[in-house]
């Protein structure tokens, strides 16, 4: 059996995350999806440990929350908000990917007759709808976090 190459000659590395040949709307969404996905999995590891303190005793829980919840410190509150932005984006963009990858909203296949139609144009409408929905929740989160509309008053 032939040994697999260590690196493919066209392997772009992390630069390829940012620049993979062209930089269009979907490409930016891909980069953001990757960054937010990584942020979320690392957060989840920490989150399970922190939230696990409720298993020891109510006093322990109160002590931990008193130190690290957004109520305790405006800097933490700000980072919590960034996390919620990441969740909102990843959620809606992820829903977009699920639908597109399963073949919804990409248009019917058709004979390539000039002027050719690309499925990107079909997808873009759905993409914009998802991003607008995400923006509505982002605006809501600003009210909830910084204007006393949510659990942080």
């Amino acid at each position: 059996m032939e040994r697999k190459k260590r690196h493919y000659p066209n392997f772009p590395g992390v630069v390829g995350w940012i620049y993979g040949g062209n930089l269009n709307f979907e490409r930016v969404l891909f980069l953001l999806h990757r960054i937010t996905g990584l942020a979320l999995i690392f957060y989840l590891f920490a989150h399970i440990i922190v939230v696990g303190f409720r298993a020891y005793s109510p006093q322990m829980w109160e002590m931990v929350m008193g130190r690290i919840s957004g109520h305790a410190n405006p800097v933490i509150l700000f980072f919590e908000w960034l996390l919620v932005l990441a969740v909102i984006f990843h959620m809606f963009n992820g829903m977009r990917l699920i639908f597109l990858e399963l073949g919804f909203f990409v248009g019917k296949p058709s004979r390539p007759v000039y002027p050719y139609r690309t499925s990107i144009d079909r997808q873009r409408i759905f993409t914009w709808i998802m991003m607008i929905l995400a923006s509505i929740f982002v605006i809501w989160s600003i009210f909830a976090f910084f204007m006393g509309g949510g659990s942080h008053a």
Binding site: Y8, I41, L44, F53, E62, E80, A144
Partner: protein, 111 residues
């Protein structure tokens, strides 16, 4: 398991989390009240619906997140050997964190 099945599970877990994580964020941040107070936290812990829901949620989140991380690592590390190491390492991490989450979710329910 075949590669395609793993990927489909990743999508299903993502779809599930649209609702699970969506409502989690909604109730923790946007719905008002004091969700992190001792009273509300332990009221949830004693309500069977929450530990059950969290059991599914942690499993979906860990699987989905680690499968995503695996894909990113596989892009960088191509050899069959390194990919085997990554598979074992991520499965191990996922199992340990899942069991810890399971314990900390169900202990307050029974205590």
């Amino acid at each position: 398991m075949r590669e395609g099945r793993l990927w489909l599970l990743h999508l299903i877990a993502g779809f599930l989390m649209f609702f699970l994580l969506g409502s989690h964020i909604f109730f923790m941040h946007m719905a008002g009240g004091e969700p992190l107070s001792v009273e509300e936290t332990f009221a949830r812990a004693k309500n069977i619906a929450f530990p059950l829901m969290y059991t599914i949620f942690v499993a979906a989140a860990l699987y989905h997140g680690l499968y995503g991380l695996r894909g990113i690592l596989f892009e960088r590390f191509h050899t069959p050997f390194s990919q085997k190491v990554i598979n074992w390492l991520l499965s191990f991490l996922g199992t340990v964190w899942f069991l810890y989450a399971l314990a900390t979710t169900w202990i307050p329910f029974f205590k």
